[in-house]
């Protein structure tokens, strides 16, 4: 039986076990939406903006490790996906984004709603395809899913011209994929792993620095096994939070610009750095020439380009983190066989040192009952949920406070925009996660600035009754911008005051969902209790201390051990400001 391109697409998606599509209709994709109307086995989540659809698919993907799927129209529909594509590309989130395109014969003619989305998205996707013939469609969809989820995951865009969508052909779905030019290395080199195991067994001051790769490769069990076996103090990147429980005694907290004192000190003083599923991002390393200056470096990553891109490596191991950690644990056990207990003693003083650093500068803030401290709200949300929930954030101070003060117990429960730092990511990401986990509590913690960037999705949660809980930490400022202006730009708050936000409670009500507000410290707990015990979507707004800052902070371009714990005294401190301007 002949099938149309639209029908073939849906059949292919089903073969890939897709259940949800985040999308928005328009001219050239109408035949696909028509086919979806007739086929209820694929559920469309209609967002109110294509950017929202992509972030929702990202939240879906990050919370499940499955591929998120997006369907939008040509031209503006396609260009509206670009920020989401770039975000997913930076954070290695597997997506298949399907865009409509004008008919093949009209491509290049500046047809109505034509955009060269394959050209536009080339540098912000893992790969992209233009389907030129209907007989290629099933194979390309199969390859798109395969490329998106294997190796270092990422977004794949498939551009479907109108004529291919309506053409008819025979549907033959391939059973397997073989792309001669694409073979991600999965197993680590055994010799290298042995060398790594030997280095680990000899190290006196080792540190594990793990990231999002642990979550992508589903290696949390192996990471925990390694930490249990070796007792090595461990720090996680922003993307890695949840890879080791936030309550684990060896967890030192996040590292980097707003990392903990203990984590940054440990990285600086360690003699062995075990980097797994990380890419030595500049927000993590600070001044690279002063990052971890005394250590031998093991770097495990599936992406060969991550290795030695920013930082020297002594023992590189390319491959899947899960496989490599498994082999590494075996090798360490083999080495330890003759005399197992001495190992722990070797690093005992190191662990004591880390504990001391933790006591010296724990994560903290000034408790105050005259105002609502944003960190206090996050602590209360954590206490209420006990971490049994999925949390997304936007970008800014609230993001860093959540990373610091919320304890992520499990992987795939923390959704944030790390590499691109995309304001507007958090709320739609929560919608996607909630779709994947209808029975889980999903919370979007956001700022009044970021929330405005995808606020239209309130209509999505209202109309589909998606019970996301929104926590707005309203500090009346683009807080992170204000903090930098306070510290490094003489306190000149240029374009960072946004006190004229709408009345979010009324706005929630206008969209048809419940809105609650706390303006005083003693209202916080009640709002949380009330908001979280309601069934549907709820918006909770907290009027927090406007000039609260995120500490510790490593000024951009500074060395990670030059953390500051209070606002710089002299606002015109030349040296600091110059270093920031040249960073």
């Amino acid at each position: 039986m002949k099938m149309s391109g639209a029908e073939m697409l849906l059949e292919s998606l089903k073969r890939e076990h897709v259940q949800h599509i985040f999308g928005y209709p328009g001219g050239v994709v109408l035949p696909i939406f028509d086919a979806l109307f007739k086929d209820p086995s694929l559920q469309v989540v209609l967002t109110r903006h294509e950017q929202g659809a992509v972030h929702a698919a990202e939240g879906y993907a990050r919370s499940t490790n499955k591929v998120g799927v997006v369907l939008v129209t040509s031209g503006p529909g396609a260009t509206n996906t670009v920020t989401g594509l770039a975000d997913a590309n930076m954070d290695s989130i597997p997506l298949v984004v399907i865009t409509g395109q004008v008919p093949t014969k009209m491509i290049g003619n500046d047809a109505f709603q034509e955009a060269d989305i394959v050209g536009i998205s080339r540098s912000c996707t893992k790969h992209n395809f233009l389907v030129r013939r209907i007989q290629d469609l099933p194979r390309i969809i199969k390859e798109a899913f395969y490329i998106a989820r294997t190796g270092r995951p990422g977004p794949v865009l498939v551009d479907l011209p109108k004529d291919v969508i309506v053409d008819k052909g025979d549907f033959i779905y391939p059973d397997s994929v073989s792309i001669r030019s694409y073979n991600p290395t999965m197993q680590g080199n055994r010799w290298q792993i042995r060398k790594a195991a030997q280095a680990i067994s000899k190290a006196k001051r080792p540190v594990i620095y793990a990231g999002g790769g642990i979550i992508s490769s589903d290696a949390t069990k192996e990471l925990l096994d390694l930490v249990t076996l070796t007792n090595i103090p461990t720090t996680l990147t922003l993307m890695g939070l949840g890879a080791l429980s936030g309550t684990h005694p060896r967890f030192m907290g996040m590292l980097g610009m707003h990392g903990t004192y203990a984590a940054n000190m440990a990285i600086h003083h360690c003699d062995l750095l075990i980097a797994v599923g990380v890419r030595f991002d500049d927000r993590v390393t600070g001044k690279i020439s002063e990052f971890s200056p005394h250590s031998k470096v093991i770097h495990i990553d599936i992406d060969p380009t991550s290795i030695r891109k920013n930082f020297h490596v002594d023992i590189p191991i390319v491959g899947d983190a899960k496989n490599i950690l498994k082999d590494l644990i075996e090798e360490i056990k083999e080495i330890n066989k003759p005399e197992p207990p001495s190992k722990d003693k070797l690093i005992d003083t190191w662990i004591e040192q880390v504990d001391e650093w933790e006591k010296e500068h724990p994560l903290t803030y000034e408790h105050d009952t005259d105002v609502i401290k944003p960190q206090y709200v996050i602590e209360k949300v954590y206490q209420f949920t006990q971490g049994d929930c999925i949390v997304s954030t936007d970008v800014g101070q609230h993001q860093m406070w959540t990373a610091q003060f919320f304890k992520f117990i499990k992987p795939n429960t923390w959704l944030t925009s790390g590499g691109l730092g995309t304001m507007g990511y958090g709320f739609p990401a929560a919608i996607g996660a909630q779709k994947a986990h209808p029975d889980k509590r999903v919370i979007a913690i956001t700022g009044e600035g970021s929330f405005m960037m995808n606020i239209q999705e309130l209509a999505t949660v209202a109309s589909l009754d998606i019970p996301v809980k929104i926590v707005i930490l309203n500090n009346k400022y683009l807080g992170m911008v204000r903090q930098w202006q306070e510290f490094f730009y003489g306190g000149r708050y240029s374009s960072s005051f946004i006190g004229q936000s709408p009345d979010f409670v009324k706005l929630a009500e206008a969209f048809g969902i419940v809105g609650l507000k706390a303006s005083r410290h003693d209202e916080v707990e009640n709002v949380i209790l009330d908001g979280f015990s309601r069934r549907g979507p709820v918006l909770m707004e907290f009027h927090v201390d406007p000039e609260e800052n995120v500490f510790p902070m490593v000024p951009a371009g500074g060395s990670n051990i030059e953390m500051i714990f209070e606002a710089p005294e002299h606002r015109d401190d030349r040296k600091k400001r110059d270093s920031i301007l040249t960073a």
Binding site: K126, H127, I147, S181, Y182, Q192, K309, P316, V318
Partner: protein
């Protein structure tokens, strides 16, 4: 940091729509240089052969090779600078031959460089010459006094010398054992 050196990189890619722009886009997006580039289909018509002339220190060239390999449509990447290799380019040059003696001079120079006169008009010769960069620069110098009307220069192409191909020299772009197997 190692010093900046010239490198010739051979890239075998899928002979597909848009692959050239993926490769070129990679170089511009990551701030790598392309000094010359030549592309043509291989004997197997499903692949294309590229020779890219670039420069950088060891660290940059390692990234170039790895980033090229990461492109889905790239089948194979070889940094020829790790081998002994031959490099050629072709020049089409149109010189003035209006004055008496010019034609003889152009003819003589062409003989010396084993170049060919491929087109002529009453006032010009068009000369084709193939060789390594030194030879091309040399003939250019000789022809200059005649007055050059136009020059078209091809990108460079390069090939490793036979006995070295598939040799055991490990790539200096990855520490031995970084991969479990070679692509």
């Amino acid at each position: 940091m190692s010093e900046i050196q010239k490198h010739f990189i051979q890239v075998v890619v899928e002979n597909k729509f848009g692959v050239l722009s993926r490769v070129a886009g990679l170089f511009s997006a990551r701030g790598f240089n392309i000094d010359s580039l030549s592309v043509a289909p291989g004997i197997d018509p499903t692949v294309s052969q590229m020779t890219i002339e670039t420069q950088g220190d060891d660290h940059v060239v390692e990234q170039i090779v790895k980033q090229l390999n990461k492109l889905i449509d790239v089948i194979k990447v070889v940094d020829l600078s790790e081998f002994s290799f031959l490099c050629r380019e072709t020049l089409l040059i149109r010189v003035n031959t209006a004055r008496p003696g010019d034609r003889e001079e152009a003819f003589r120079i062409s003989e010396i460089f084993r170049a060919r006169i491929v087109d002529s008009s009453p006032a010009t010769y068009t000369i084709e010459v193939t060789g390594d960069t030194e030879k091309i620069e040399a003939i250019l110098n000789f022809l200059k006094p005649l007055g050059i009307k136009e020059i078209i220069r091809s990108g460079k192409i390069a090939i490793a010398r036979e006995e070295q191909h598939g040799g055991h020299r490990p790539s200096k772009h990855s520490i031995e054992g970084e991969y479990s197997h070679h692509r």
